[in-house]
């Protein structure tokens, strides 16, 4: 085995030739990727492409049909207790024991984690301004998200896996959650694997992205590389018959009749491609691209 391959195997998350299917429907077919230590990785994809399945596989609530899904060196669905101790999970909807109070939550969780950071938990709770006897079930979604994040960060895990942390949060709490997460992750060189439906938040959070798309291979790489190479162009040619393929990653007709062209190539290359297809590139212009635009462009609107 080569040294490179050995190095990949040591990464916090290693997925190799992962296959999974529900009934007769194949959700993941030979999916492979790995996450480097200390990186914050965002998993993006449209509904139904298998984000939740992948997160469940990583969290160990599903076992692969074939292939491997290893987290901190162990099969994700058969983690040992010491490995579980090094992994912090934030479940969709900020799952918590809502019958416990803030104080009881800490009393329950702290003994499991030798590296429990009392100060981190207390700091979060002080900011929340709720008494220690406040029941989690009586909190708002935003308040609960803070308790959940505080509990996970206080565990001082090496790897955090967050499943759609934005669910149910308004803009303010989303920002708060994100700020705390980024701060603690960066400060502690934590590896973070996160999914979210709010794509624009990812721009501020992640180092790398995994873009899943139906029927195509996923994009895996640093976010800045993706944003630096993936481009959007507008073509004012309502009568043109444009199709994706070749150098054009995706083309979509906008509501005003213009075309949006997405590609990993500069304008002159795209222009030449259009010309070769018999389309006049004179009215082709590059348009600035947000991550959300890039996500839609990469995965397609529909």
């Amino acid at each position: 085995m080569s040294q490179d391959r050995e190095a990949v195997r040591d990464r916090p998350i290693v997925v190799e030739d992962l296959c999974y299917a529900y009934g007769g429907k194949v959700v993941h077919d030979r999916l492979s990727f790995s996450v480097e230590p200390g990186r914050i990785v965002g998993l993006l994809g449209k509904n139904g492409v298998g984000k939740t399945t992948l997160i469940k596989l990583l969290m160990g609530f599903l076992a692969p049909v074939s292939g491997t899904c290893r987290v901190l060196g162990e099969a994700s669905h058969a983690l040992s207790a010491p490995t579980k101790r090094r992994i912090g999970l934030v479940f969709e909807g900020h799952l918590a024991y809502e019958f416990l109070t803030i104080e009881e939550t800490e009393r329950f969780l702290a003994p499991w984690y030798p590296r429990w950071r009392k100060a981190v938990f207390r700091d979060f709770m002080d900011r929340l301004g709720l008494p220690p006897g406040h029941r989690i079930g009586d909190m708002s979604e935003g308040q609960r998200s803070q308790v959940v994040l505080a509990a996970v960060l206080a565990q001082d895990p090496d790897l955090l896996i967050l499943d759609d942390y934005t669910m149910g949060l308004d803009a303010g709490y989303r920002r708060l959650f994100l700020d705390h997460l980024v701060h603690h992750a960066r400060a502690g060189s934590k590896t973070v694997f996160v999914t979210s439906h709010v794509v624009q938040d990812m721009e501020r959070l992640v180092d790398d992205v995994i873009l899943l798309r139906r029927g195509g291979s996923p994009y895996l790489g640093p976010l800045n590389e993706f944003m630096g190479s993936f481009r959007r162009f507008r073509l004012m040619a309502p009568d043109a018959d444009l199709r994706a393929g070749g150098l054009l990653h995706n083309v979509e007709r906008e509501a005003d009749g213009t075309w949006s062209i997405y590609a990993f190539h500069p304008a002159d290359v795209v222009g030449t491609t259009l010309q070769n297809a018999g389309i006049d590139p004179a009215r082709l212009s590059e348009v600035p691209l947000s991550l959300e635009d890039a996500f839609v462009g990469y995965t397609g609107s529909y």
Binding site: C19, A21, Y22, G23, G24, M59, G60, F61, L62, A63, V65, S66, H77, A78, S80, A81, P82, K84, R85, I87, L89, F91, G93, L95, A96, Y97, E98, F99, L100, E104, R107, F108, L109, P111, W112, Y113
Partner: protein
């Protein structure tokens, strides 16, 4: 583990308080009902109803443990599953098995405390009105219901943790089946011989629960450990238990046993056998078919009322004319059924000793009851439960004077006032000597009988018949049956060829011309014709007619490899019975397994295929069902 204990305690404390409150309300109600019973009726009559007729004082408690078990499972695990807490818990740094077993252990401990509190409350309430023997009896009646509660808890937990809907239903069916087994009889002591099997069944859920939980976390891949094998045993057992219930519900009609009589009129055996539905056959041993009326006229000592209506009385038999009154007066029936046997009955060892010379037409229950201890016969007042020391001393001294060895092996009598006179009790002492104990004008009248002490008596059936010729029947452990002479306690041997006391009813139909002894069960009947001095002179045996079976039944039964039944074979005590099915069941099941595996080729791994075949070879179609219900439920590529 302390944090888990903290979590479970916080989660359950409010709900447990509600359960405890509910139980307390039930016990207040129960105490009020019992108090009312003693207010409305004399204590001696209540003692008779409970101690002799078998009324269950705690019948209202029957489903309380089941509800507690199911509620506890729901309260403890519904939030874990429905609100996703289980996913949080399963990620705690602890092995899944230990985590789930702790939760189950916590639930079991709570269940044990709740059941102990309920048992204590029952004991206190029953003990306030009844002697300790009744308390023991009540608690023994409650024991299988508590096993049902335990099964409801474990089965409920398994059903809630089960990730697949169909299998969730399967767990509920298994739980319901085990629960139903615990409620087959409300008679105290009925489960005396069967309860250990039920406990084993309930405990089989324990290793299955963490196995289900591990599938909840890690999918359906192969999980090592005993969880799946135990689940397979549980599913196979429940299939075997449900098969006879299903087939009897679908196909079985009630069958009446064949009855054989010796006709004093025609001097031959006649019989009545159930063919099917409402069709019976009446005939003679020689094969002469009889209509029902002719059959009845051949047995005037039994059917004399009809014969009187038909104007056929008086009838002349053996040169002697009998009118209806004479026919009735000369007839005497001694019966010994499996449920009458001392070791198949469920008795509370407290008895009323009636006044045998009451000085009035009707018998009356005394205001005391007696029981034997290690060194005396003890009389208790039924109202105060205090020991009547004077009566106790008098009777104990009388017994000791005659050499009675305490404690007795057997106390046999008919504790009822619905009889023409009272003949007291036949008591077999510690040495096997039989004493006849009566109360006459308040004093002991005790006879040390000449019945041999080495007879190894199994049971005695006292029959206080107006003719006063015989005391009753005596059965020995080696299956010999005797009629007991009333005056001299002389033992008259009865014919018993092929008699199985545990399954057969024995009837001795006495008349002055041709008495008949007959014994029968569902397999067939035998009878012996006796001379008036009870000497057998002719025998007849007849197998029960084969039951006609339809195609549907034949096909279904061809697939059933074996059956397990929990039933009382003509007694109070339930017992486990095992019956092997036809050999075809294994062959047909193997074919079925091969067909299913071939049809489901993409879903069946080679390992699962061989496991299914192996289990089918071991347990027929039940093994196949168990393998399918416990195997991988999602696509599993052929390796």
């Amino acid at each position: 583990m302390r944090p888990l204990f903290l979590k479970e305690w916080i989660k359950l404390r409010g709900r447990l308080a509600a359960i405890v409150l509910g139980c307390a309300t039930f016990h207040v109600y129960f105490a009020m009902v019992l108090r009312r019973k003693f207010t409305l009726e004399h204590a001696e009559m209540v003692f008779y109803q409970v101690g002799r007729i078998g009324q269950n004082t705690i019948a209202d408690f029957e489903y309380v443990p089941l509800v507690i078990g199911a509620l506890l499972a729901f309260m403890q695990f519904a939030p874990e599953v429905a609100r996703g807490h289980l996913r949080l818990s399963l990620h705690l740094p602890i092995a899944t098995n230990r985590l789930i077993l702790f939760h189950v252990a916590a639930g079991t401990a709570v269940l044990a405390v709740l059941f102990a509190l309920n048992a204590a409350a029952l004991a206190v309430i029953v003990g306030a009105w009844f002697p300790v023997e009744f308390v023991t009896s009540a608690l023994s009646a409650a024991a299988p219901w508590m096993v049902a509660g335990i099964a409801a808890y474990f089965g409920g937990v398994a059903a809630m943790l089960e990730p697949h809907a169909i299998r969730r239903v399967a767990w509920l069916v298994v739980t319901a089946a085990v629960g139903a087994l615990c409620h087959l009889s409300a008679r105290p002591g009925a489960y005396h011989d069967a309860i250990s099997g039920l406990v084993v069944l309930a405990l089989l859920f324990v290793p299955a629960v963490p196995w289900v939980a591990r599938r909840f976390r890690g999918g359906d891949g192969t999980i090592p450990g005993v969880g799946r094998p135990v689940a397979i045993v549980l599913f196979v057992t429940v299939c075997a238990l449900m098969a006879p219930i299903a087939t009897s519900t679908l196909f079985d009609a009630q069958r009446e046993e064949t009855q054989i009589f010796f006709s004093p009129v025609s001097r031959t055996f006649v019989f009545r056998e159930h063919l099917h539905d409402h069709e019976f056959r009446h005939a003679t041993r020689e094969g002469q078919e009889l209509d029902r009326r002719t059959f009845q006229t051949l047995l005037p000592f039994i059917y004399n009322r009809d014969m009187e209506v038909w104007g056929l009385l008086p009838v002349t038999i053996g040169g002697r004319a009998f009118d209806r009154r004479a026919l009735t007066a000369e007839r005497m029936i001694f019966e010994l059924k499996p449920r009458d046997l001392a070791d198949r009955r469920v008795d509370i060892a407290v008895h009323p000793l009636l006044e045998s010379e009451p000085g009035q037409a009707r018998l009356q229950f005394p205001e005391d009851i007696f029981r034997f201890s290690a060194d005396r016969i003890e009389f208790l007042n039924v109202d105060t439960l205090a020991v009547d020391e004077e009566t106790t001393r008098i009777f104990t001294d009388a017994l000791k004077e005659l050499g009675f060895a305490f404690p007795p092996r057997l106390v046999e009598g008919r504790a009822t006032i619905l009889k023409p006179f009272d003949d007291g009790y036949l008591v077999v002492d510690a040495n096997g000597v039989v004493f006849h104990v009566k109360r006459a004008q308040g004093r002991p009248r005790i006879v040390r009988t000449p019945i041999p002490a080495d007879l190894a008596i199994r049971s005695i059936q006292i029959v206080e018949n107006a003719q006063r010729r015989f005391m009753g029947l005596l059965l020995t452990r080696d299956g010999r049956l005797f009629l007991i002479g009333r005056e001299d306690y002389r033992l008259l041997p009865m014919p018993t060829q092929g008699y199985d006391p545990d399954t057969m009813d024995y009837r001795l139909i006495m008349n002055p011309v041709a008495p008949t002894a007959a014994w029968s069960n569902s397999a067939g009947a035998r009878a012996a014709a006796l001379t008036p001095d009870l000497t057998p002179f002719d025998f007849y045996a007849r197998a029960a007619p084969e039951r006609r079976r339809g195609w549907g039944e034949l096909v279904v039964r061809a697939f059933i490899p074996f059956e397990i039944r929990l039933e009382a074979r003509g007694g109070d005590r339930l017992e486990w019975l095992f019956a092997a099915g036809p050999g075809s069941a294994w062959a047909l099941s193997l074919c079925l397994a091969a067909i299913i595996a071939a049809a489901d080729r993409r879903r069946t791994s080679r390992r699962e295929y061989f496991l299914e075949i192996g289990l089918t070879m071991a347990a027929g179609v039940f093994g196949l069902i168990a393998a399918r219900l416990t195997g991988p439920a999602r696509p599993n590529r052929r390796v």
